[in-house]
């Protein structure tokens, strides 16, 4: 480092001449790239994780110049500084001495009362802010959150607990406790109703539909003898009887669940009586300690991962989307791995190496760069419309005109994605095969093994890390791909999972939900984008984690295999 002294005496022009500024600029580019990646991940993580935190509810007076002051009860969502000129342009009478003002988006909830969930508030005019302990938030099955003070809880119209206090007095806490008990009871009944409706009645409907198709099929084949018809009718009558019983049970359950109501006072002072059955959960964030909040946070995360979506996908969980994504990727992997490997083995080991093989190799290589939407268009045109409707004509004529495979579904989506990712597997496997030394192969052949045995016992095991790499890349690509799926079978809300207890258990013809499409759909097609946004961040975070986990799992498998066959690699 003797030249350090010289550098110290550099003039500006010498410094420029040395090329150092350019090196620094290049270093800057690296820094920017790194910041962008980490910043992006941090943004998703913070917003996605923040979604579940029970935010404090603020109560204050909002007195905008030129309009009557009113009490505002809301959660703060986000704040930004805006030039006062913009506000003046929007018709808000802002005092002249302001140049910049803080503006906040407040979630007021109570969409059924106010018409909208959110309003923009200028912080300057939002005063006397308190966080009263008795303010509660209730998540509901419809109309979004409810914010207000609990006034009374009723059973069959009779008051069981009531209070006039807005502070945590004994009567207020007693009412709250009654309310919590009532919610717990309603939730249990709600789960029962859900089980009956979804599982039991769903199974009956499935059986009835199969009976209908069976009858139609016999009819089409002219095999519908009176005996068979009587048999089908008997089965149908049996299912109908079961259905009747369940229906009666449902009526009872609904009568049960609608027993309780509660009375709430909202921020404009008006009092509303609502059914407890509509509430998913109620909590008082201002009264919660950190531990309680953490517990609440955990239960929300669990709900997000395991529950079904509510309210046009903007609330609740994303379980069907997780399930659909994983299922589709699994099916795709099962398809892509053998076919990709066989193709690569053929290209490298069996086909005669010449101009044609070289051309095919380049073509397959370049297919990896073809836009995914093109595969989607191909999948829709060839698989769904061409093959699918052919399969329907041949095997499911009884269901026509409603298509079975002649419409997008899990199977077509998996095959399309398999086609999309098969070049990746072929290229990676070929690379692995080409790296295996000739003498290993020749040694095996010299010992009398056939070509197939050499391939199976020597070549493929040695190439397995490369194959796994290809599959990893394929899985990573498939899990994040949305555009082709939009054409071949993803829907915003699938009525049931593609895997359930009804014969034939895996429903390859069914449409499914997908995390990536969920992000697109909820973020861009939802009627209430503002309310849906936090959930989209959470979903995005989840998708990133799922993809990272898939990658990680595959990397572990690869390393494990590499370790196992290390002795082979001389």
């Amino acid at each position: 480092m003797s030249n350090e002294l010289k550098i110290k005496n550099q003039t500006v022009s010498q410094w420029v001449k040395s090329g150092d500024p350019w090196v620094w600029l290049n270093a800057g580019a690296v820094a920017i790239c790194v910041i962008m990646v980490i910043g992006l991940l941090a943004l998703i993580a913070v917003r996605g994780l923040g979604h579940f935190w029970p935010a404090d509810i603020n109560q204050g007076t909002y007195s905008l110049p030129g309009s009557t002051p009113y009490t505002l009860v809301a959660e703060r969502v986000e704040s930004a500084e805006v030039p006062a000129a913009q506000l003046r342009e929007a018709g808000i009478d802002v005092a002249d001495h302001h140049d910049l003002m803080m503006r906040s988006l407040m979630k007021t909830g109570n969409r059924d009362v106010y018409g909208s969930d959110f309003r923009w508030v200028i912080d300057e005019y939002f005063t006397d802010i308190t966080q009263p302990e008795m303010l509660f938030a209730a998540e509901r099955h419809e109309w979004g959150n409810l914010y207000g003070y609990l006034k009374a809880v009723k059973e069959d119209g009779k008051v069981v607990a009531q209070t006039e206090d807005l502070t945590p007095t004994d009567s207020a806490l007693a009412t709250w406790a009654a309310f919590e008990r009532s919610i717990e009871r309603a939730t249990t009944i709600y789960d029962d109703i859900h089980d009956v409706e979804k599982d039991e009645i769903g199974a009956i409907n499935h059986k009835l539909e199969r009976l209908r198709l069976e009858q139609r099929r016999l009819e089409l084949n002219n095999e519908l003898t009176p005996a068979k018809l009587a048999d089908i009718d008997a089965q149908r009558a049996e299912q109908d009887a079961l259905y009747e019983a369940l229906q009666q049970r449902l009526i009872d359950l609904y009568a049960e669940i609608n027993r309780d109501t509660f009375v709430v006072q909202v921020m404009d002072g008006s009092v509303h009586e609502l059914q407890v059955a509509k509430v998913v959960r109620a909590y008082r964030p201002n009264a919660m300690g950190i531990a309680e909040k953490l517990g609440f946070y955990g239960s929300k995360v669990v709900e997000f991962l395991t529950a079904e979506p509510r309210e046009a996908n903007t609330e609740g969980g994303v379980f069907p989307a997780i399930f659909g994504t994983v299922m589709m990727v699994l099916l795709m992997t099962i398809l892509v791995t053998p076919f990709g490997v066989v193709a690569a083995v053929y290209l490298r080991e069996y086909a005669s190496q010449g101009f044609v093989t070289r051309t095919i190799r380049i073509a397959v290589n370049n297919l990896a760069g073809v836009p995914s939407i093109v595969y989607g268009v191909f999948g829709l045109g060839f698989f769904v419309y061409f093959l699918g409707s052919g399969i329907d004509q041949a095997f499911f004529p009884e269901a026509l005109p409603s298509p079975t495979f002649g419409t997008g579904g899990l199977m077509w989506a998996s095959i399309t994605l398999a086609l999309l990712t098969v070049p990746v597997v072929i290229v990676a496997t070929e690379e692995g095969l080409s790296r295996i030394p000739r003498n290993v192969r020749e040694g095996s052949l010299a010992l009398g093994a056939t070509k197939a045995e050499t391939l199976w016992r020597v070549v493929l095991p040695m190439a397995s890390p490369a194959i796994m790499t290809g599959v990893i890349l394929a899985v990573a690509r498939a899990a994040g791909e949305v555009a082709p799926l939009m054409l071949v079978g993803v829907v915003k809300l699938a009525p049931s999972l593609p895997l359930d207890g009804n014969y034939p258990f895996i429903h390859l013809d069914q449409k499914f939900m997908h995390l990536g499409f969920h992000i697109y759909d909820v973020g861009f097609q939802s009627p209430n984008v503002e309310a849906a946004r936090p959930l989209v961040y959470a979903t995005a975070l989840l998708l990133v984690i799922v993809i990272a986990l898939l990658n990680l799992a595959a990397v572990t498998i690869r390393n494990h295999l590499r370790e196992k066959y290390k002795s082979l690699e001389m």
Binding site: L25, A85, V482
Partner: protein
């Protein structure tokens, strides 16, 4: 041991039945593995290559021509009533309808010509006849006493015993007595009817008159009340054809020589001659003047064999002028012209009996076939344009027409087309609309343009960052740091684009709109700030500088960049206040006159650039890193600085790799769907403005493919778009690959 074994060898029998069987099984396994792998492997490769062929297979029908084939021939049904004035058929082309010269209305079976019903004209021999339009099935007769009778074809379809039976009949919506339209014997008649009013134009030997029946629904009885107004209009000598425009605003009166007078008849009490236009060149004679579907294009056929299309175009003062748009020419004179009922297509019949079928939008001729002789007088399309009726001296002939995609031609996809209602020829993509007589606009140009625009802005962002980053990472960075930085940047590649698109559309677009000033100041501040920091760093005492080893500069710069970026965002409102009166958006729209969309090319460029960076970065980094160390060491030994070695030795050697990195990145940007779909407004415009959005081929596919009808022209055009995308990326990738191979050889000697 070994001697023992040696002694045993001769005793080994390799040909025991069990071993033989075993060998056979092994040989069989080997052979079947070869066959299986060959079949499996080649079928996978074929399946992958199938994409290309399937796309072409779906596209091909677009450019294949049409065919016409004679099905039935018979004598003119009810020939005693005279030749046909009008010929048509109902939806299924089962029942034909003709109006004879004596006014009889004849329904007949298209298959064999047998008469189903011959409805005698209730008011006797007409002097003039007019058709409202083929689609409305309304016709009108004028009689010598000046009355006009309006008749309507009605088809009732029933299914007794599962068989389709079509029962035709005639109704008279304005009564069987007719409307007293004139006090002279009309020679020419034109009718236009809609829900609000009906307009008749009648021209006699010396006079001409317009009659309008306004329809008002009585609120109490809910009956339609008719109010009749009429006005004389100037008589045009030698009147040959009359036409009332679809909105009943203009009346076109053309004489045999093709001189046309356009009257403004919107106000019936104040009919004015608006313009006089010569429709025909030279001394040819007018043969037919009729509306194309939608009643906005006037088609003029003449005896010299020319068919010209005219429609109203608004000038700068918002005044409509009937304007010549395009024409098609035939070698000989024309006899008749027929319009398609559902598309902007028409057929012509010339005096040799040659039928030609055209599409007006694409100005494409799909059929030119001699199917009759000089005696042919009339042609007519079946409503679905799958059949054609022709009347000639021998009788009636029914032809089957197979003409699926006439509206698509090479020039209508890639060239400018003058669409109805447009001021000038444009590149427009508009594939569907609410109404039936809509003219589909299938120009892929705006989409291709949008695709390149998005790719351009993405590359503008990605190329400098990725390549500079790669240069540093591969050549200057400390190995320890490199091992950490490379995976981080390559992590970007695994990030699903739907997440990038969502962030771009819902987070970055509004953020950028609010902090526009920051976005542009960052462009200046960041490089300057980095340079300034570097300079200050070089002036710092050695003891400080030695704390950070060479090749760790990015770690020093990370806080600098974060601070500068944060500073720019924080200063954004201040900059906006001091330079743009607190409203930079207003400044752009009002002072610069540039349209500003929230989801614009800047947002797309940023988000897609982000998606492309890892692709370019890793290929470039590999290329630079694999430059032989001997080269750089030689250069350094000769006294070159690191930077000189970089630019003079390393970069030239690695340039093929960098080139192919850019090409592959470009291919990815061109095909990216979700980011563009979510981060732009998806409007198909042709404007390079960075503050406006675009619609790319890929996003267009995602939006429109699920909704297009299988096998329709729209569906096939979308497949064409997919094929274009496919071909483009395929070619780009192949070029990248071959250039890399080629240049690698060239620099291999280095």
């Amino acid at each position: 041991m070994s001697t023992k074994a040696d002694q045993k060898i001769p005793e080994l029998d390799f040909d025991t039945p069990a071993l033989k069987r075993h060998r056979k099984v092994r040989a069989f396994k080997d052979r079947s593995a070869s066959v299986g792998i060959a079949i499996g492997g080649s079928s996978v490769i074929l399946a992958v290559l199938l994409i290309c062929f399937y796309l072409m297979y779906e596209v091909a029908p677009l450019f294949s021509g049409a065919s016409i084939e004679q099905k039935d021939s018979y004598a003119v049904p009810a020939a005693e009533s005279g030749k046909s004035l009008y010929l048509t058929s109902e939806e299924q082309a089962e029942v034909g309808f003709r109006v004879a010269e004596n006014g009889d209305m004849v329904y007949f079976k298209v298959a064999d010509g047998s008469v189903i019903e011959n409805v005698k004209n209730p008011l006797g021999q007409p002097t003039a006849f007019a058709v409202e339009s083929d689609t409305s099935r309304m016709i009108a007769f004028a009689y010598a006493d000046g009355r006009v009778l309006v008749a309507q074809q009605v088809y009732k379809t029933t299914y007794p015993e599962g068989e389709r039976v079509i029962t035709p009949s005639i109704e008279y919506p304005y009564g069987t007595e007719g409307i007293q339209a004139a006090d002279f014997a009309p020679r020419h008649l034109s009718i236009r009817d809609n829900e609000d009013r009906m307009t008749l134009a009648v021209v006699g030997d010396q006079q001409a008159q317009v009659v309008r029946l306004s329809k008002d629904v009585n609120f109490i009885t809910e009956e339609v009340e008719l109010t009749e107004d009429s006005a004389d209009i100037p008589f045009v000598d030698g009147t040959h054809s009359l036409l009332i425009s679809g909105d009943q605003r203009y009346l076109y009166v053309a004489n045999a020589a093709g001189a046309m007078s356009e009257f403004d008849i919107r106000d019936i009490d104040d009919v004015q001659l608006k313009e006089q236009i010569d429709l025909i060149d030279g001394d040819a004679q007018l043969v037919s003047m009729r509306y194309l579907l939608g009643q906005s294009s006037v088609m003029v056929a003449d005896s010299a064999g020319r068919v010209s299309q005219w429609f109203n175009v608004r000038d700068d003062n918002n005044v409509e002028h009937l304007t010549y748009i395009r024409d098609v020419k035939h070698p000989t004179g024309l006899v008749d012209m027929a319009m398609e009922h559902r598309r902007k297509g028409f057929a012509t019949l010339d005096d040799r009996g040659v039928v030609s079928i055209f599409n007006a939008t694409s100005s494409r001729q799909v059929i030119d076939e001699r199917i009759s002789d000089g005696s042919a007088t009339m042609i007519s399309f079946a409503p679905r344009a799958n059949g054609l009726l022709l009347e000639d001296g021998k009788g009636l002939h029914f032809f089957e027409v197979d003409n699926e995609h006439p509206e698509v031609s090479w020039s209508s996809i890639w060239g400018k087309v003058w669409y109805e209602g447009y001021q000038e020829p444009t590149y427009t993509w508009q594939s569907s609309a609410a109404n039936n007589d809509f003219e589909p606009k299938y120009s892929l140009m705006p989409l291709a343009f949008g695709t390149l625009k998005a790719a351009f802005y993405a590359m503008l962002m990605a190329v400098p960052l990725a390549i500079c980053g790669a240069i540093y990472t591969a050549y200057f960075m400390a190995p320890g740091l490199r091992r950490k930085v490379k995976p981080v940047i390559e992590l970007m590649e695994a990030l699903p684009t739907v997440i990038l698109g969502f962030l771009a559309g819902l987070f970055f677009a509004p953020f950028l709109e609010e902090n526009l000033a920051a976005a542009f100041s960052i462009l200046v501040v960041l490089p300057l700030g980095i340079l300034l920091f570097a300079f200050i760093w070089s002036r710092l005492p050695q003891s400080v500088r030695f704390m950070v080893p060479d090749g760790w500069q990015p770690m020093l710069l990370i806080p600098v960049v974060v601070l500068l970026g944060w500073g720019c965002v924080a200063m954004s409102p201040v900059i906006e206040l001091s330079f743009f009166d607190g409203n930079i958006r207003g400044f752009i729209t009002n002072d610069l006159g540039i349209t500003f969309d929230q989801r614009n090319a800047l947002v797309v460029g940023f988000a897609m650039g982000f998606a492309v960076i890892p692709t370019i970065f890793s290929i470039t980094e590999d290329a630079i890193f694999s430059v032989p160390k001997a080269l750089t060491q030689g250069s350094l030994a000769l006294g070159a600085t690191y930077w000189q070695t970089m630019t003079r030795v390393v970069l030239p050697t690695a340039s093929p790799g960098i080139f192919s990195a850019i090409m592959i990145g470009m291919g990815r940007a061109v095909g990216e769907t979700m980011i563009v779909l979510m981060a732009t407004g998806n409007t198909p415009i042709m404007d390079f403005n960075i503050f406006e959005g675009m619609r790319t081929l890929a996003a267009n596919l995602a939006v429109e493919v699920p909704e297009s009808e299988v096998g329709s022209s729209h569906y096939r055009i979308l497949f064409l778009a997919a094929f274009v995308l496919f071909a483009f990326t395929f070619v780009v990738n192949t070029i990248a690959e071959s250039v890399r191979q080629h240049l690698r050889k060239k620099y291999g000697s280095l």
